[in-house]
């Protein structure tokens, strides 16, 4: 059979199976097994467990559960509220101050958590009720948190960057650095839009009514110190010669657990278990998808589909920016339906040779891909952040959340365009800190 026809059949089968309500990981295993039986014979099933195990047999993956524990530990304490309140006291006089505080808190929290749902949950628990209480529309309250939460995977540390680094053999330390400036750029864009829209609707004065004295502003600052300590500790361990990026995750997890227990007195076994339960749930889900996506990519390669698609695109000979546009649309659409990790693992083997042939930088592309995945996190049908918002505020309608986050999606698209115009936004910092690409 023509490999491209086969590729189309596999794509349709995969979409049908994944949309049928089966969990993503099991769906990928089912599709892989089906095609392997037909084209490689029954015996190829023998290999599945060892391929699955082999894909997880990677030291760098250890950082996924650990960066998730970091976020979960801090999210379960008062820390999120402290951070949030500090920002609010300082930003209250800016138009839309509360939204700005929320976005700032999301960005800071993202620097401690590798996962977007965790970021969303940590800040949302405090931020959404508070914004609604002060009269912000539901859409703005939920939308800004949903969008701000997505920064969790762009601002380092980032679970998706780790997975990308493993899949493409790119330095994880370099990828982390590359995400920082684009992350700050997105925060800036998010904030700019919020300020402008609150000002335009005339809510500006009404919604920035709270006033705090300088004393109140200063006395909250010490409560932000644990955050800064964690961020500084992790950065020092990672770039100061103590540990490799993967190992640093363990330092971060320990730091966060210790701070949660000692400073925020999270002593009870029940509280500690709730942290471990939440992080187990998220990391097992992600790692299961990683193993299953590994089996899926084995099937694609074994049937020569990956290679044929890559060859086909390579010989299309289109302008490289047209190519980048098509790739972005593909990633966006894939991100609507699949969690980021699954998209990266399924797309990386096919896209990487194309990206390199077209002369794009693998580190820069990681950032573009991650922003695409961020959009996917707040779009149905699989938008992990939407689930989280739904858990925090079940009475806000999905449509309201979506309309509220739509402007932020616009900001992300603008961010991608800016990155294409000025690739240095992503590559300048890693080149500065780590020297030119080895």
């Amino acid at each position: 059979m023509d490999p491209l026809l086969l590729a189309a059949i596999v794509a349709i089968a995969t979409i049908l199976v994944l949309f049928s309500g089966v969990s993503v990981a099991l769906g990928l295993l089912i599709v892989s097994a089906g095609f392997l039986i037909v084209f490689d014979g029954m015996r190829s099933l023998e290999l599945l467990p060892e391929i699955f195990f082999g894909k997880l047999d990677n030291f760098a993956l250890l950082s996924i559960p650990m960066f998730i524990i970091m976020g979960a530990a801090i999210a379960s304490t008062r820390a999120g509220a402290d951070l949030y309140e500090a920002l609010e006291r300082w930003l209250t006089r800016v138009p839309g101050g509360l939204v700005i505080s929320n976005l700032g808190a999301c960005a800071l929290f993202a620097a401690m958590s590798g996962s977007s749902p965790a970021t969303c949950a940590a800040i949302g628990k405090m931020g959404i009720p508070e914004m609604r209480k002060r009269g912000f529309p539901d859409g703005v309250a939920a939308g800004s948190i949903a969008a701000g939460g997505t920064l969790g995977i762009l601002i380092p540390p980032s679970v998706t960057m780790i997975v990308y680094g493993i899949a493409t053999e790119t330095s994880i330390g370099r990828l982390f650095l590359a995400g920082l400036m684009p992350g700050l750029m997105l925060v800036g864009l998010f904030m700019a839009w919020s300020i402008w829209s609150t000002w335009k609707t005339g809510d500006a004065t009404a919604l920035s009514a709270g006033r705090y004295s300088w004393r109140e502003r200063l006395e909250i600052l010490p409560r932000v110190l644990p955050f800064l300590a964690i961020i500084a500790g992790v950065l020092y361990a990672m770039y100061g010669g103590i540990a490799t990026p993967s190992e640093t995750a363990a330092v971060g997890a320990i730091l966060c657990l210790v701070i949660a227990i000692v400073i925020y007195s999270m002593w009870s076994p029940r509280a500690i278990w709730s942290v471990l339960r939440d992080s187990t749930k998220e990391s097992v889900m992600i790692l299961f998808i990683i193993g299953a996506a590994g089996v899926f990519s084995y099937m694609l390669s074994s049937l020569y589909i990956t290679q044929s698609i890559a060859e086909w695109i390579a010989q299309l000979d289109v302008n490289r920016w047209v190519l980048m546009g098509v790739i972005n649309v593909f990633l966006l659409v894939a991100g609507f339906f699949l969690p980021p990790v699954a998209v990266i693992l399924m797309a990386a083997p096919i896209l990487m040779p194309i990206i390199e042939t077209a002369g794009f930088d693998a580190v820069w592309f990681a950032v573009v891909l991650t922003i695409n995945m961020e959009i996917g996190l707040i779009s149905p049908p699989v938008g992990l952040n939407l689930y989280v918002i739904n858990g925090i505020a079940p009475d806000i309608k999905l449509k309201t959340i979506l309309m509220g986050s739509l402007p932020y999606v616009g900001c992300m698209v603008a961010g991608i365009v800016l990155l294409c115009l000025f690739p240095g936004i992503a590559t300048w910092l890693p080149d500065l800190v780590m020297g030119d690409m080895p």
Partner: protein, 309 residues
């Protein structure tokens, strides 16, 4: 009737010498016109580097090019194919591959339904971030990354601290100071641009410790299932590839020396005395551990390898 298609998997890029070896075999077999095709899956696109031997021995994969010591956990005898000081230089390595030692190794491969088509060794050396690593005293107290179990044992015996990591992590680890010294193949030193982080390089020269046996393997039953013309074509192609492999292996060492020199890295060769000092330590550590690891034939196998002049 469709031609027989064999699948060959390996971990290297299509510029690597080991890919070229596989490509020569594939091209020659195709040119022989015996209804036999070899489809190459490079860059771990089918199986991960260390996950190839198991499917090969179960007949799920037909061919591979891999360091045989990767399968040392399944056949402890293979650990002899990455043993410090056992091979002196490339010509010695070539004599080793046609010795009784290799015949003995063949028997172990046969147990796993595997056989070697193309023999070949690649060499490697040491780098240090502060100074040169030529004598055992040089690694005292240094955080060192070694390629292979036997080298970890020997270096630990010389007083080094062992940090295990993938060769792709060496660059970052040396840059941030996690690592002070590293040992790997000369081609990896060049492809990972380690010269940017190294102060001194000890390339494989007249005396080198690190030689790794990296043959092209085929599943034995698959090979025996081919018709006579196909088998002959495969053997002829392999002989041609093997000659190329030996020449390229020598060139790679020279190339790594040239690149490091050009980048301003100090080059210092290992002397005969230093080589002997390392070997003494290896005898007390890695050789000893190897013999203990093997159930009974360890010593005789080691003696066979040492007997090759």
């Amino acid at each position: 009737a469709g031609a027989t298609e064999l699948r060959l998997s390996h971990q290297w890029s299509d510029k690597d010498v080991r890919h070229q070896v596989a490509q020569i075999v594939a091209d020659e077999v195709a040119a022989a016109d015996v209804d036999l095709q070899i489809k190459i899956f490079p860059s771990e696109s089918l199986f991960k580097a260390r996950e190839q031997y198991k499917p090969l021995s179960r007949g799920q994969l037909d061919m591979t090019v891999l360091p045989l010591s990767y399968a040392g956990g399944q056949q402890p005898a293979y650990n002899l194919t990455l043993m410090p000081g056992l091979v002196k230089n490339h010509d010695h390595a070539a004599r080793l591959t046609s010795s009784p030692f290799m015949e003995a190794l063949d028997k172990y491969m046969a147990q796993d339904d595997v056989m070697a088509l193309v023999h070949g060794y690649l060499a490697g050396g040491f780098v240090g971030t502060e100074g040169c690593i030529t004598a055992p005293d040089d690694v005292q107290g240094l955080q060192t990354r070694a390629a292979g179990k036997a080298f970890e044992q020997m270096l630990a015996g010389a007083g080094a601290s062992i940090a295990s990591m993938a060769s792709s992590e060496i660059y970052n680890a040396m840059q941030t100071g996690v690592l002070d010294a590293a040992n790997t193949s000369s081609s990896s030193f060049v492809s990972y641009r380690i010269y940017e982080q190294a102060a001194c390089y000890t390339p494989p020269g007249d005396y080198a410790l690190w030689f790794m046996y990296q043959p092209l393997l085929v599943n034995r039953s698959t090979f025996e299932g081919l018709d006579e013309a196909q088998q002959q074509a495969l053997l002829d192609a392999s002989a041609k590839a093997q000659a190329f492999y030996l020449e390229e292996a020598k060139k790679e060492d020279a190339e790594s020396r040239r690149v490091f020199e050009e980048q301003g890295v100090e080059i210092r060769d290992m002397t005969a005395e230093e080589f002997e000092a390392w070997r003494k330590i290896a005898e007390a550590t890695s050789y000893k551990a190897f013999v203990e690891d093997m159930d009974d034939d360890g010593q005789s196998l080691l003696d066979m390898a040492l007997a090759v002049e």
